[in-house]
């Protein structure tokens, strides 16, 4: 497939730093309207003896929700498929999905959590697409999430105690907005004091290929900083490193530097470049470790 709808290097770098990326009103209005009906049907019939069912886990994306399903049409939109393939490549598989429906005047505050289980320590990742098929007004049931939380090692229930985090966001936006989460991003459902139903479809997708240079890399040579890029020495302005220096307001300086290291390690995986670095943290340690190895063999 061509790269016409694939994400740019800048967008990929922003995703690595933030753990999410949003696309406002990317799904056409007519499809949004049909989707609400289908989401309601899926909610009602998912566990019923008959009716609309989700795909089996492991189903190739191309086989999910065949026509005339609205959800399938959404997943096959070129602009959505380009986003998906930038992160998890062609031939991604269905993990699971869910209709997230918050009733009018709902008061339940879901605790902050990360989905599934504490994940593998390597840098492979799944994505979760959150599709909001109608306008979501501020404070009316949009998903709460914590930018930059996606690369931490936690157990989901340990996040319950964080009622408020500086810099957290609650989604609001126009109909057809899709937000893509790294699978590790902290998030929570919120109350809906409004008069309308809040519908959202969430789908988790697994990669089946190494997630290396899957996006439109035509701008990568311009943005990829050399490993020597160091904020207290010489920097390439407007580079991937500059994006990775994004400091989320809820992090300590120590946490922020550790996050830079994790972002650099994830970028090594995504680019296939084992020398990549930001502010010399990895290179410094690797060079010193090489001295020890050299001394051992001397």
């Amino acid at each position: 497939m061509g790269t016409e709808h694939r994400l740019s290097t800048r967008q990929m770098a922003q995703f690595v730093a933030d753990g999410f990326i949003r696309f406002d009103a990317i799904v056409p209005a007519e499809l949004n309207a049909r989707a609400i009906e289908e989401m309601a049907q899926l909610e009602a019939e998912r566990f019923a003896p008959t009716g609309l069912k989700p795909p089996h886990t492991g189903t190739p994306l191309d086989d999910c929700y065949p026509p005339p399903a609205a959800i399938g049409e959404y997943l096959r939109l070129p602009q959505i498929r380009g986003i998906i393939e930038s992160f998890v490549g062609e031939n991604a598989t269905f993990d699971h999905d869910w209709t997230h429906h918050i009733q009018p005047h709902a008061t339940y505050v879901q605790p902050l959590h990360v989905d599934a289980i504490t994940d593998s320590p390597d840098f492979t990742f799944d994505i979760q697409l959150f599709w909001y098929p109608h306008d979501v007004a501020p404070g009316e049931g949009g998903t709460r999430f914590v930018p930059g939380s996606h690369l931490r090692r936690v157990r989901s229930s340990g996040l319950d105690r964080y009622q408020h985090i500086v810099g957290e966001q609650q989604l609001s936006g126009p109909a057809g907005t899709v937000v893509v989460f790294h699978h590790g991003l902290w998030h929570a459902g919120q109350p809906n004091p409004g008069d309308g139903h809040r519908w959202m479809h969430k789908v988790r997708l697994n990669p089946t290929v190494p997630q290396v240079r899957l996006w439109d890399t035509s701008d990568l040579p311009d943005l990829q900083n050399p490993p020597s890029d160091h904020v207290f020495a010489r920097i390439l302005p407007d580079s991937v490193a500059q994006v990775f220096r994004t400091m989320h307001p809820w992090t300590s300086i120590t946490d922020h530097r550790n996050e830079q290291v994790q972002r650099a390690l994830l970028w090594r995986y995504l680019t296939g470049d084992d020398t990549y670095d930001v502010d010399h943290y990895l290179t410094r340690l690797e060079r010193r470790a090489a001295l020890v190895a050299a001394a051992d063999t001397a």
Binding site: R153, V154, Y162, V166, W250, S252, V261, Q262
Partner: protein, 94 residues
């Protein structure tokens, strides 16, 4: 009249009580009858600001050395301070 406890958990960007608040949680044993937190994001700029507003410090988190091999991996918010204040609740007879 009986006392009831309100608990304030603050998480900061450093291990000192005057470090900047980055997260918080409030648990109210008076079920809304007692004083609320001040408005603002966060309600107190630091734990010291909470002390000045009458909160009593119960506990600070320990400093835990990084585990070998995990030195650069972040986890939960490290610097936690637990504070309380006691409220006379006239609704409750002893």
């Amino acid at each position: 009249m009986a006392e009831r406890q309100q608990i304030l958990q603050l998480w900061a960007d450093g291990s000192s009580l005057d470090s900047r608040t980055v997260a918080w949680a409030f648990h109210d044993g008076t079920d809304g009858a007692g004083p609320p937190l001040p408005g603002g994001t966060p309600p107190y700029a630091s734990g010291v600001h909470a002390l000045r507003d009458g909160w009593m410090l119960l506990q600070t988190s320990q400093l835990v050395p990084p585990q070998p091999g995990e030195e650069h991996r972040n986890s939960y918010l490290e610097y936690e301070f637990v504070l309380e204040r006691r409220v006379d609740d006239s609704r409750i007879e002893e």
